[in-house]
Subunit: 245 residues, 2 copies
């Protein structure tokens, strides 16, 4: 696991939101929170109650009176903002920002991400201390993300860009994909029995119907277990017929 | 804007969470919600209160008694799950799932994403109706995402993969990047004045100090406004010196 960016909550207001931010960080494996001048003091019992399984982040979170103190050891700082601020500053998507953070951390830099108070976000006096801005590309008609949501999306991108998951995997539940010969035998089994049952009718269409059925089997993502189930279904239909009830 | 996937809330419990899910959808431009058998009936006043600016989604959300009814017109359905379920099924990241959804929608398919009730998520009886699973790659030591967070991350990926934002842009606040000749003149201005001031000392080091300063200017991402500010600072230092106070 590479070194991590610190997430700096600047003048957070509600303890519940601090706790929810801690949970959102830990959901994606981040545990370096810093807290600057929280409205209701520190530690905050409501934050602890909300954080539940992520309470350790709050126990370990350093507390600072001022933002310059909190950023004192950082070499590269991002500020999250919901709207343009009329400052000359590079603006990154969360994805690009976390790529940048990962690269800088890998070179030994100390990286922080600032999140503003719930009501109005970071002030321009805070943002001018940042090297760059992170802006989540939201619906411009409804851009309101709350503090914990902004933390969640940034932490999600950190994990997504740092520990990439396979785009697609397959839960196989104890089975595995059927092999060519298994699908071939299944197709033969069905073809024989359906032939006996008079399914391929009229004669002129029989070959086309058989091709359609072959194509159906090969198009299905069949497992060995599926093939056994389908064999069993057909055998049972034959047994039922043979019982002659 | 391409056609959208429907987000289907299956047996949601708290109205507040339904409202928060509506907000999270609309934050990323999605407005097709479906609701199946909500615990507290439908419409739900607490959902409406929480949704605030996204209340229209709830007004327009069709209500269904059963999941098969809700999925009746869909050709491809995703189920969101937090943990493996022992079912044989493809598993996508949110990103890959929304790519798949976009491709299928572009070919005229109807796509839905199911989200389970808050307490325990979708049941296996729900998931077997899905073509594929979406699993958010969370910290395995702390995988708990709530309903609105799961909706938020999926909707975020929809927008990210459908309306890609530039990874990096630049807020320029009415200015633009400085040109080569502007930076050259700035470098000359500083070099001349600093030479007069005796900054390049000792003589043996002067050339190296000048090179270092040239390199500093070219390394900075200067704007035209920055260049004017820096010229102004130097002129003022010279004026102050000339006043001889």
């Amino acid at each position: 696991m590479p070194d991590q960016p610190a997430f700096v909550l600047v003048r957070p207001q509600m303890g519940e939101n601090i706790g929810a931010a801690a949970r959102a960080m830990w959901n994606f494996g981040l545990d370096r929170m810093r807290v600057v001048a929280p409205r209701d003091g520190w530690p905050n019992p409501k934050a602890v109650a909300m954080a539940s399984g992520a309470g350790r982040l709050l126990d370990n979170a350093p507390f600072y009176d001022t933002l310059p103190d909190a950023l004192g050891d950082c070499t590269y700082v991002f500020a999250t903002t919901a709207r343009p601020r009329g400052l000359t500053k590079p603006v990154f998507t969360p994805e690009a920002a976390m790529d940048e953070a990962r690269t800088r951390l890998a070179h030994g830099e100390k990286v922080a991400v600032m999140f503003g108070p719930e009501r109005a976000g970071l002030e321009n006096d805070d943002i001018i201390r940042a090297n760059a801005i992170i802006s989540v590309p939201v619906n411009p008609d409804f851009p309101s993300l709350n503090l914990a949501q902004c933390v969640l999306l940034t932490a999600y991108e950190w994990r997504r860009r740092t520990l990439p998951a396979p785009a697609r995997s397959d839960e196989m539940a104890g089975t595995e994909p059927a092999t060519g010969i298994e699908v071939e035998r299944l197709a033969q089994h069905y073809e024989e029995r359906l032939d006996q049952a008079g399914f391929f009718f009229p004669e002129a269409k029989a070959e086309s119907m058989k091709r359609t059925l072959r194509n159906l089997w090969s198009r299905m993502p069949l497992t060995r277990a599926d093939v056994q189930t389908l064999h069993g279904m057909m055998r049972q239909m034959v047994r039922w017929k043979e019982r002659g009830e």
